[in-house]
Subunit: 146 residues, 2 copies
């Protein structure tokens, strides 16, 4: 997804296109993994000294309501990332280091034969965590990124 598309979508909904929102869009487009509200703030405040946390939260919520970003609960809190472009059902490999996510289409639900008596499945969660190639090889790439 391109910055332009995001901006266009916001504009189409009658929202104002501010410098902050452009920067926020770029931030997500450029970042493959998840971002915490705090990380977003810290990235933005470098460009906009006066940046406030509430604007970050407000805009994250806006982007989420527009289905541009999605929220995910990690063990250490809420994080956001660009929603997957595809509508196809899929799951993710998630790098524990850089949090980059890589989609795959195998779904285990096809193989679950037995449900508890009377259990009615509604949704499921299947994610595989590990280390991506970059974070394994580039020993200190992670350190550098921090």
């Amino acid at each position: 997804m391109e910055v332009q598309e995001i901006i266009q979508a916001m504009s189409n909904k009658g929202m104002r296109i501010t410098e902050q929102r452009k920067t926020l869009a770029r931030l997500f487009v450029d970042h493959e993994g998840y971002l915490t509200p705090k990380e977003v703030y810290e990235a933005m405040v470098q460009t906009y000294a006066g940046m406030s946390f509430d604007t970050v939260y407000r805009n994250l919520r806006v982007l989420q309501e527009m289905d541009i970003v999605e929220q995910f609960m990690f063990e250490d809190g809420i994080k956001f990332r660009l929603r997957c472009h595809t509508d196809e059902h899929h799951h993710h490999f998630i790098c524990l280091e850089c949090e980059r996510t890589i989609p795959f289409h195998y779904c285990p639900m096809d193989h679950v034969q037995q449900y508890p008596e009377g259990f009615k499945p509604v949704k499921h969660k299947f994610d595989i965590y590990g280390y991506c190639e970059t974070c394994q090889s580039g020993q200190s790439r992670q350190a550098a990124a921090r």
Copy 2:
């Protein structure tokens, strides 16, 4: 797991057995699903009027460090429940209404053939959410439980 076992385990570690801790143990033993710290507090304060939130948090952490309860991140926050007794690898059906969890032993990892180039899997998450028999049939059981 029985209240007695939990108490015994705490006692063995040299911890004091207080009335609150007995009640807390009973609470988890009697409750099949997950509990938020707030729910724990609200249940406990009925018995101990002076009960404070910090005691709840402290004891939850103690029980967690002893591997008696486990923590789980839901979309609406952290919740706790008794750790599964079995050591066998397994996953869970989780009721969206009462949050009761039912273990099953099928594991999709055996069927994932391809990993992204260089990806090194470490752990995974597979949970199936839905409605258990009780919460489907007893139409208002849920409402009553609230």
